[in-house]
Amino acid sequence: MGPEVERELIRKCKAGNSRFYEPLVRAYEQPGLRLALGMLGNLEDAKDALQNAFVKTYDALARFDLKRPFGPWFFQILRNQCRDQLRSRKARFRLEALDERLELRPADPESGPERRRERAQAREVIWAALEQIGEEHREILILKELQGFRYGEIATILEIPEGTVASRLYHARRALKDALLEMGAEYP
């Protein structure tokens, strides 16, 4: 969906037409679910967070500046919702539940079974390490590596200056590296 179409839909939603919100929900629910799942670690909590974030976003549309892109603003609300949910329920990131929801990206056709097994093992170790590092480190790594956001978008979502993103990523990667080394992983 192009930014112009998004703006038009939001304009109509602002005028009180909630049915124009449907295409926006449909466009952002899959990436939103991935982000929530990455932050919360289980599907039920992720769906709750996503639903609440969409409702909060709709309620806040009146304050939305149409010159800004909708996506990062929505993900910012979703991220805050996930954090609130983690705090209010004293829940913690649950690896087992998340791992069931994972799939490996299509394997390189040239790689053999041994290489694929190695990658699968590396994946398990990485998720275990992600579970060990703090929530703040985990969320920035998920935004960058799993969601593929640019620094500017991450800055909007996390409500931090763009210049801080690189530094946060460095600390997150260092924490992940330490966790991996502690678990006996060898890099590179």
């Binding site: 899959q30 991935r34 990658r119 990667r173």
Partner: protein, 141 residues
């Protein structure tokens, strides 16, 4: 002399967030430093492994729209219900107060209605406080 590359610059380089000029400068520094090369290789390998992880697209079958829409439209229903009930209650009170019955009957009826409302409110309040202190309230049955 080699220019020092900060950790932040290294991250921006790794993530492709640098311009051509800065890229050249960092590459020159990396070429000339074993330590930097090793550090970059570690982060690059980690990045590759992280990027092989992907949350399944088909995780959530069906759209969440219906649930969102219910939550968006439900408050309107509640507002209409409450406004309607208030209008009827006000009209009923007006009819009751202006009816030609004895004052004693009016007082007795008012006492019953107010009593029922107070009891109802106290039960709801009690249940709400119990719910707040219930340690198992987030456990799904």
């Amino acid at each position: 002399m080699q220019e020092r590359v900060t950790h932040e610059e290294l991250m921006r380089y790794l993530d492709g967030e640098v311009g051509p000029e800065e890229r050249g400068r960092i590459e020159r520094s990396v070429e000339g430093s074993t330590e930097l090369r090793r550090e970059l290789a570690v982060y690059r390998a980690m990045k590759d492994d992280l990027q092989t992880l992907k949350l399944a697209d088909g995780v959530h079958h069906g759209s969440i729209w219906d649930s969102v829409n219910r939550q968006l439209t439900r408050p309107i229903g509640w507002v209409l219900l409450v406004v309607g009930a208030l209008v009827w209650a006000a009209y009923g009170i007006f009819i009751f107060l202006t009816s030609p019955v004895f004052l004693l009957e009016k007082l007795a009826t008012s006492a019953i209605v107010i009593g029922v409302l107070l009891l109802f409110a106290s039960v709801i309040w009690e249940r709400y406080r119990e719910w707040l202190s219930d340690p198992y309230r987030d456990i799904q049955r």
